[in-house]
């Protein structure tokens, strides 16, 4: 099996699982896991937005929760204050997040590395404080619950996210579209330009790449993905709150991305899934399970800095190399 085949196999397995989850999961474990899986898919988009920046252009953002929060508030405020319909609220949320990413990005990507990480935290803190104290609009720390408008309504017939299976496939479709989009972008000339900037920004400029513009594009794209995650999560939870904008949420997304493996497309799903399931299971066993989460994070950074995805990639490459050499030495 070649590396790419191993990849393809893994990806197909993931896709197959995702498409059958609403029927398979209740059979195997419990229907609750369908919702958990939806949630994992949504959060994985936030981790994926971290991954886009860290894994592909080499910028560590500790403020992606800002765009998640904007996507979320866009939907909630759209529904509660402007009486928007489902799609308009959804699009409003995503546009708000993307717009914010464009503004924040145009300033933030002038900086790199530590400075970049810090300024993204600062940006998210600014809006976190704003959201907390701006109670009439955001509901402050109590948040903003809302009733979800129907997606399509023909007279009496209404299709809403209150239908569990429909909700699941809606989330899968949107998340799937995002991953497809990321896949396309990563394998496009633009995606190559991202990697080039990550590898060596000084050299990239010398061969004629506009490093600033490439970083900005990546930042806006990542903001868009985080915004979709936020908008979806608002629809999923029927709720928006400033607490989702705190830098701890960004930090968790970074942890998920790193544990899953940065620079791999599906790493974020693996990392997010693992950490959420781990928490879910541990929390009912031990009161102080957060200690284990902390230890797991540190151990990953020390022993597997490329994460599970990276380890998998290395393993696949090793197997491929062994088979290759065996083929060569064969008769």
């Amino acid at each position: 099996m070649r590396v790419t085949d191993t990849y393809k196999f893994g990806s197909w397995l993931l896709v197959l699982f995702t498409l059958t989850a609403p029927w398979v999961l209740p059979l195997l474990v419990d229907s609750f896991w369908v919702d958990i899986y939806s949630e994992i898919l949504i959060w994985s988009l936030l981790a994926a937005s971290v991954n886009l920046l860290l894994g592909y252009v080499g910028l560590l953002s500790f403020g992606q929760a800002l765009f998640f929060g904007f996507g979320m508030y866009g939907v909630a405020i759209g529904v509660v204050k402007f009486d928007l319909g489902f799609w308009s609220a959804f699009i409003f949320g995503i546009s708000l997040a993307t717009g914010m990413a464009a503004i924040a990005g145009s300033l933030a990507v002038r900086l790199t590395w530590h400075y970049f990480a810090i300024i993204t935290v600062v940006f998210s803190l600014i809006f976190y404080f704003t959201a907390l104290s701006w109670k009439p609009i955001t509901g402050g720390d109590d948040g903003l619950p809302f009733t979800i408008p129907p997606i399509i309504s023909f007279g009496d017939y209404k299709l809403t996210m209150t239908n569990a299976n429909f909700q699941y496939f809606f989330i899968v479709t949107i998340v799937g579209a995002c991953y497809w989009l990321m896949y396309r972008v990563i394998n496009s000339p633009l995606g190559r330009a991202f990697v080039t900037v990550r590898e060596n920004d000084a050299r990239a400029a010398l061969i004629g790449l506009n490093v600033y513009l490439i970083r900005l594009t990546a930042f806006i794209f990542a903001g868009f993905i985080a915004g979709v995650a936020g908008a979806l999560f608002a629809l999923f939870g029927r709720y928006a709150s400033a607490s989702y904008m705190f830098y701890h949420v960004s930090g968790e997304a970074v942890v998920w991305a790193i544990i899953g493996g940065v620079g791999t497309l599906f790493g974020p799903i693996v990392g997010t899934g693992l950490m959420i399931v781990l928490r879910e299971e541990l929390s009912s066993v031990w009161d102080h399970y957060l200690l284990l989460v902390g230890v797991a994070v540190i151990l990953t950074v020390i022993f597997a800095p490329r994460g599970i995805g990276g380890a998998f990639k290395a393993l696949a490459e090793k197997i491929a190399r062994q088979q290759f050499s065996r083929k060569e030495s064969g008769p």
């Binding site: 633009l190 190559r192 330009a193 590898e199 990239a204």
Partner: protein
């Protein structure tokens, strides 16, 4: 057209705090030649490259490339005008294959970064990458990751990166520094080949090589241009001999 100098540096000064790295540098280079810049360490050769390619801004003065003023232009703009360079400390995109390295350099000059098309379908750049690969003699290593290459091959790849941008002028900063004799010879031949189609300015410490390949030599010392001329006239120039070459002669 032929009257317009390739590169025209007028009264360029560069100061780092109190340190004067370049002082009133004036330089006019014609097309179609292999120029070399020599001079002792700290003469300002690399700084000159840096200001010309936009890596650092000048303190004062003007730089024209093919008649267009590009003083303090953005690095990538200068590169797109057709000015490519290699760095003294070799630098390529380590975690990409040789082919990908060359591809991105070619693509950056074809300008389009479609976010949806597969990069492998950008035929023009793919072909360009293959051509350059052939030209620098790395075809057999095309699918190797750059970080796995030998020092000499990395230097060649870096030159390839510069060439893939189809430059009108190529600046080489000590291209054979740190190479063994065999690699040096091979690289020098490559440089001579390239110089047939592209104008080159080379910074080099190896005087022997310089005198062998250069059409024209500029000597720098203490941030200024000391002399400029054919290898013969430079060899005969007494100022240069005193300031720089003199030591060599004493050996």
């Amino acid at each position: 057209m032929s009257n317009v100098p390739l590169l025209e540096v007028t009264n360029v000064n560069k100061r780092f705090g109190g340190l004067k790295a370049l002082q009133d540098v004036n330089l006019s280079l014609e097309t179609g030649k292999l120029h070399a810049i020599i001079g002792p360490n700290g003469a300002g050769k690399t700084t000159l490259f840096n200001v010309v390619t936009g890596t650092i801004p000048v303190t004062s003065g003007r730089i024209k490339f093919l008649g267009t003023d590009m003083t303090n232009d953005k690095i990538h703009r200068i590169s797109r005008r057709g000015l490519a360079r290699t760095l003294q400390i070799k630098s390529v995109f380590a975690n990409m294959t040789v082919r990908e390295n060359l591809w991105i350099a070619a693509q950056s000059h074809h300008g389009v970064f479609s976010p949806f098309k597969s990069w492998k379908k950008c035929v023009r750049s793919v072909e360009m990458a293959d051509i350059i690969c052939e030209q620098i003699g790395l075809t057999s290593l095309a699918d190797q990751t750059a970080s796995n290459l030998s020092h000499g091959d990395i230097a060649l790849l870096e030159m390839g990166l510069a060439l893939a941008t189809e430059p009108k002028l190529l600046l080489l900063d000590e291209p054979i520094c740190g190479m063994g004799p065999a690699e040096t010879e091979q690289t020098v031949i490559k440089i001579q080949e390239i110089s047939k189609s592209t104008a080159i300015i080379i910074i080099e410490h190896d005087i022997e090589v310089v005198f062998k390949i250069a059409d024209e030599i500029t000597v720098m010392a203490n941030g200024t241009v000391l002399a400029k001329g054919t290898p013969e006239s430079i060899a005969a120039n007494s100022d240069v001999r005193n300031a720089y070459l003199g030591d060599d002669d004493d050996d």
